[in-house]
């Protein structure tokens, strides 16, 4: 009699358990009762637990077994098979994952990995049902069945379908002020002004929301908001990063990004200009500025750097960033070995590096220890924004001159002079910026284990990863070496789904705080299976078909009901879908660092809303740069209007990022950041409480409210509240703040006059006609409001 082995018994048990679970949940459609799907259920399991030793990396492969390729997994291995489709019991894989023998069990205990009973059952069922493999979702062709509907309708349809399947419902639309604040913050990074709220509430047209969307997309602040994110991806910063962390010249690139988003430059063109603007025939100044992308990496001026070592570092840095930004893939590990989980090889890594081998890093290899350091090739340019301004002024001038000729009206003389002076001033705002310049490409070798001293590896030509559609470059005289320009164009050729999926997933994240695939930094085997694959594809294909218009994509997203719904979860939704995977409500989350700053400056009226320009230096704790050397660094906070610029313009010192930005999770931009963490710490509390920028903003809010309300207390408090929160104050909230005000006022009337020092924080002028103790007490009210969770939350 054949008794089942313990492992078999266990397998039977787990099958029984699984069946019981299925019975328990047979009422409605749930995922668990479907047969396991390779992409959704099996690939992530195999990838995480098995591929490291039985996957793409030939060097670490054990038992010469690959489970990532169907033909390898099912082949005859001398009388036994890893996987026999349709027969788990006959499959060695099942035997090995279900045994209790520690010497045999997979994954081996020393890897720290294991499979749960449920996971084993899934694998078993998958094998029993035929062990069907599927192409990885991110690389599969786009599925598009968008018919006669707008993208926003499609979004709602596809989201609704999943919601229904889960027994959930979409929330009703958010109340109008919440929605308005959300929309303004999401599209411009700023809360709506009092006037913007009033005009919205006054407008009776059914299109008022759509109108506002269009207005905001056309506002210059849209570009600033989008740049905040793009600059994280491409790791834009004002300093070199390594060792002395000297300033380098690059701000015109940042302004170009803002300008490009504002004019809705198609994403393919936007990408091409950055990767290869300098290679375009008769490249424009803007295209050359954009090519500064290739210079954004960290560089070192440390004495004793070995050129060969650092050229290898720079090459890897560029491959890491390129592959993260445009392919959503982690190629970094392929510097030393084939990827353990994804079908990328070490050769792929160096072939990608070869695209960038023509970038002139040698002219300024050592750089200087001056500030800013000179890193040729650089250009001295007017930013596109300043050139636009000059163009505008010249048009005015022309108009003026033509009208002067006709009417011979000499009274326009001074105006003409004003215009000329303005043009002259703008012409002076040329800044230096690093650009790409192609030189003869240096040979790129495959480096054994990434060792830059190794010279034994083959020299490789530029090429794209083998798993992706190929790139062919043929000229009349035969094949030619592929360039960065070829690479940039290849990204956007037809049937190139990855580029589009990666980007739309990240755009979705900007409006829901989570991607449809939540791993924004990895679309590979280890990445998260998208919750709504069809929706991701619909977004990607529409994006591609719309000539890569980012504004159109965003417009459709924010017009959707899915976007407009309330962020307040129902208890039912919280319980059954705590991560809000199925989008039964909008998301509430703390604002990014820059927006928190902008909110305080904007609501107090301090914000200087000029576009572009040199980087700004807000107040910063003394001595914060004490660890910088070569040369030693002193920090001088700006003493003019530069002090009140938006967060996107803050001087980005990689090694010592402004403490306010750090406290609110802004990245140092040493590497690509696709998603910022959101923390909630006492350091953030201390920053918001005590950073002079916020204390000053609170004072100016207090002053303005008292002036606007003839120093009457309750109306002033209401005014501040509305200014910061975009909504009216409630009676119990008012009561709390009135109590605070009265108590502080009383104290200020009794305290030593030095207590009023608080009014001297920041350089904004005092309102002399106001009573200092009242201003100080109202300052506390403003501080309290600015410090609430609601103020810094997007709902």
């Amino acid at each position: 009699m054949n008794l089942p082995t313990p492992s078999k018994l266990k397998a039977i048990m787990s099958r029984v358990t699984f069946l019981m679970l299925l019975l328990a949940s047979s009422q409605t459609h749930v995922v668990a009762q479907e047969s396991p799907k390779y992409n959704r259920d099996i690939r992530p399991l195999l990838s995480d637990r098995c591929f490291k030793c039985h996957g793409p990396d030939s060097h670490s492969r054990a038992a010469d077994l690959r489970l990532d390729l169907q033909e390898e997994a099912v082949k005859d291995r001398g009388g036994y098979w890893a996987i026999v489709p349709g027969d788990a019991d006959g499959s060695d894989l099942w035997e090995r994952i279900s045994t209790t023998d520690p010497d045999l069990v997979m994954p081996p205990p020393e890897t720290g990995k294991s499979l749960s009973d449920e996971e084993r059952t899934q694998l078993r069922n998958w094998i029993d049902q035929g062990a069907t493999y599927e192409k990885h979702w991110a690389y599969a062709p786009l599925k598009t069945n968008l018919e006669n509907t707008t993208l926003s309708e499609t979004i709602d349809e596809l989201v609704e379908r999943e919601l229904l399947a889960q027994g959930l419902h979409r929330n009703p639309e958010a109340d109008e002020t919440t929605l308005l604040r959300r929309l303004h913050l999401d599209l411009t990074g700023l809360p709506p002004t009092r006037e913007q709220i009033e005009s919205y509430l006054r407008e009776e047209s059914g299109d008022r929301y759509a109108n506002r969307v269009n207005q905001l997309l056309e506002s210059p602040q849209y570009g600033e908001r989008m740049a905040m994110y793009w600059l994280d991806l491409v790791r834009y910063a004002d300093t070199v990063g390594y060792h002395g962390d000297q300033d380098h010249a690059i701000t015109p690139y940042r302004d170009w990004v803002i300008y490009a988003f504002n004019r809705d430059m198609p994403f393919d063109e936007f990408s091409r200009d950055q990767l290869a603007g300098d290679l375009l025939p008769e490249a424009t100044v803007d295209q050359r500025i954009a090519s500064g992308y290739n210079r954004l990496l960290q560089t070192s001026h440390e004495g004793g750097v070995q050129q060969k070592e650092y050229l290898a570092k720079y090459a890897s840095d560029r491959v890491r960033n390129f592959s993260m930004v445009w392919l959503g893939s982690t190629l970094g590990c392929c510097e030393c070995h084939d990827h353990k989980y994804d079908p990328f090889t070490q050769r792929d890594f160096y072939q990608l590096a070869a695209f960038f081998a023509d970038i002139d890093d040698l002219q300024s290899f050592k750089g200087t220890n001056s500030l800013p350091t000179k890193r040729e090739p650089e250009l001295e340019v007017l930013s596109p924004l300043d050139r636009l301004r000059i163009e505008g002024l010249k048009n005015q001038l022309e108009l003026l001159e033509s009208s002067t000729e006709e009417t011979e009206d000499l009274s326009h003389g001074p105006d003409r002079q004003v215009l000329l002076n303005q043009i002259e001033q703008l012409e002076k705002r040329r800044r230096r910026t690093m650009v790409s310049k192609a030189i003869k490409p240096r040979p790129i070798r495959v480096l054994d284990r990434g060792d830059w001293m190794d010279e034994g590896g083959p020299v490789v030509e530029p090429n794209v990863p083998g798993i992706l559609p190929s790139l062919s470059t043929v000229s009349d005289s035969g094949p030619r070496r592929a360039t960065r320009l070829d690479l940039a164009q290849w990204l956007f050729e037809e049937n190139r789904p990855l580029t589009a999926r990666v980007f739309v997933n990240r755009i979705w994240y900007l409006f829901f705080n989570s991607g449809l695939s939540s791993s924004l930094e990895d679309s590979g085997n280890q990445g998260e299976w998208p919750t709504h694959p069809e929706l991701l594809d619909a977004l990607a294909s529409t994006f591609a078909q719309s000539q890569w218009s980012v504004k159109s994509l965003i417009r459709e997203i924010v017009l959707s009901k899915t976007y407009r719904q309330s962020s307040l979860p129902t208890p039912e939704a919280l319980e059954s879908d705590p991560e809000n995977l199925w989008l039964s409500h909008q998301t509430r989350y703390r604002l990014p660092a820059e927006m928190i700053r902008d909110l305080a400056l904007m609501s107090s009226g301090l914000l200087v809303d000029e576009l572009g320009g040199p980087s700004a230096r807000p107040y910063q704790p003394a001595g914060y740069y004490a660890h910088l050397n070569f040369p030693t660094r002193a920090y001088y906070a700006d003493k003019d209007q530069q002090q009140y610029r938006r967060g996107v313009y803050i001087h980005w010192q990689r090694q010592f990022l402004h403490p306010m930005l750090r406290a609110f999770d802004a990245p140092t931009r040493e590497e690509c950041t696709a998603q910022r963490p959101i923390s909630n710490t006492p350091l953030a509390a201390l920053t918001l409480l005590n950073d002079p920028s916020f204390v000053e903003a609170a004072r100016v809010l207090a002053q303005r409210s008292l002036v606007a309300n003839d120093s009457s207390v309750a109306p002033s408090i209401k005014w501040i509240f509305q200014q910061v929160m975009t909504r009216g104050i409630k009676p119990d909230e008012l009561q709390i703040l009135l109590t605070l005000y009265e108590s502080q006022l009383q104290q200020y009337q009794q305290l030593d006059p030095t207590a009023l020092e608080v009014l001297k924080v920041g350089m904004a002028p005092l309102e002399e006609q106001l009573v200092p103790a009242q201003v100080a007490a109202m300052l506390f009210v403003a501080r309290a409001i600015l410090n609430t969770n609601e103020a810094i939350t997007r709902n």
Partner: protein
């Protein structure tokens, strides 16, 4: 939660790679949504410690710039013999080299005398008289080697295990794994001091949290101005006023939370309380008036003036209060020239306080719970470099010395060797990742299991190459 939802949710989590023992980033990012009652998140990971811990705290004394092993812990008589002669090419051919690129390489003999000390008879040079007195507490590793020959990337390797930016530092990993033991202070504190050569730049990356949430990053304490950024009230604002303000903020947040039920608000309220507590606990920490004179004398510190001596005393005060990881940098150790005078300065500033720290912790019975690690990001060449008035040495990564003391390591031990000229680590070679694995081991952490999934990969402090716990040096 009904069963089908449970299944659904679990199967989704599994399908999306949230595996047992491995925390996915998305999960980490959501952790803040849970109200925390402690400043920098107290709770250890569920599977930690992996085994009994020997140490609870780490104090890392980083001699930034790279101190010479040949003048401190690794006596090389053969090098003395060969002083002034060409360095044999058999040692240097094909090896990386920093500032000596393209120069004639010649030997520079040890510049100080070595003697045997303590019952263990450890060999230590005369430039470190106070540490020599603690010889029986030191576990000297003479066979360190690392990957990076320039300061910035070498520090990054020492702190994060790789030269690629953006990875969590050791202190962040350890606080992430073990949680904090203090209610009022950060679990990871960094302090720096100067003296000796033109100070080394130190990037905040060295104490960054990388892809871990920022609450795990090191918090820098300063000797000038405010000890922690924004810990002081705005000018003219007193403690009662600040308290009242925070009460009002919390009252507004509570009201709001009644309507919107947002766990993030509860956390925010807790963090404001903690912020307020820090405004008191930090100044207390910096107030040495409760230290008896003999303790101040032991360290050679009078006030928290940012000197290495004062920082060592601060480190003890922090450890007493439950700070998990204290990182002290002394920035004067890059001696390309004038090795002797600079060594004299640096050792005068660091020798006594380092020894005092061991002694003081020992007296308080804290040494057994505290692992002290001393060393630079690399060592220095056996070859002469002539950058100053007097001889110096260049950066060197093939062999150098560090020491550990306390928390579970065997004092009075010398581990590993370099070759006869002190060029390359020979016996029992110890890579930086082996040091990391050993440090984690003393804290009860299996370095292979402390992993976080990011970019689809399992990241560890010790990376992907094999790392070895130095069982031989454990007590």
């Amino acid at each position: 939660m009904n069963l089908q939802r449970q299944i659904l949710r679990r199967s989704f989590l599994q399908a999306s790679g949230v595996a047992l023992g491995h925390t996915a980033l998305a999960h980490l990012m959501n952790q803040d949504a849970q109200a925390s009652t402690r400043a920098f998140d107290a709770s250890p990971l569920p599977d930690l410690p992996h085994f009994a811990a020997r140490a609870k705290h780490v104090i890392f004394l980083c001699m930034a710039g790279g101190p010479s092993h040949l003048e401190t812990f690794d006596f090389k008589p053969k090098l003395a013999e060969m002083d002034g002669q060409p360095m044999p090419e058999s040692f240097t051919a094909g090896q990386p080299i920093a500032q000596l690129q393209g120069q004639q390489l010649k030997c520079l003999g040890p510049q100080f005398k070595f003697r045997r000390h303590g019952e263990s008879g450890q060999e230590i040079s005369d430039i470190l008289p106070k540490l020599a007195e603690m010889a029986d507490d030191l576990c000297i590793i003479r066979s360190m080697h690392t990957d990076q020959i320039n300061h910035d990337p070498a520090h990054t390797v020492m702190n994060t295990g790789t030269s690629i930016s953006g990875r969590p530092s050791m202190g962040a990993w350890i606080n992430y794994g073990l949680g904090s033991e203090t209610d009022n202070l950060p679990g990871f504190v960094v302090m720096t001091s100067k003296g000796g050569r033109n100070p080394q730049p130190i990037a905040s990356r060295q104490w960054g949290s990388g892809f871990l949430p920022s609450r795990y990053q090191g918090v820098e304490f300063y000797s000038n101005g405010e000890p922690v950024h924004y810990v002081g009230n705005p000018a003219g604002v007193n403690r009662d006023q600040q308290r009242e303000l925070i009460d009002s903020v919390n009252a507004l947040n509570t009201l709001r939370n009644q309507q919107v039920r947002n766990p993030e608000i509860e956390t925010r309220i807790a963090q404001y309380e903690l912020a307020f507590r820090m405004q008191t606990s930090v100044p207390e920490l910096l107030d040495f008036s409760d230290e008896p004179q003999h303790v101040l004398d032991l360290y050679g510190a009078q006030s928290p003036d940012g000197s290495f001596a004062a920082n060592c005393l601060m480190a003890r005060r922090m450890v007493e209060r439950g700070v998990r990881f204290v990182h002290l940098y002394h920035r004067g150790w890059d001696h390309h020239g004038d090795l002797v005078p600079y060594m004299e300065t640096c050792c005068r500033l660091c020798d006594g306080p380092s020894a005092a720290l061991i002694q003081d912790l020992k007296q308080r019975d804290l040494l057994k719970d505290t692992l002290i690690i001393w060393g630079g990001e690399f060592g220095r060449t056996p070859m002469f470099q002539g950058k100053g008035q007097k001889p110096g040495r260049d950066h060197h990564i093939q062999g150098f010395s560090m020491w550990m003391a306390g928390g579970g390591v065997r004092g009075g031990t010398t581990y590993g060797t370099t070759d006869e000229l002190g060029y390359a680590a020979e016996d029992n070679r110890v890579h930086v990742r082996d040091l990391h694995a050993t440090m984690l081991h003393t804290l009860g952490i299996d370095h292979r299991k402390l992993a976080v999934k990011y970019q689809g990969l399992d990241f560890r402090l010790t990376g992907v190459e094999p790392a070895r716990v130095l069982k031989e040096v454990l007590a």
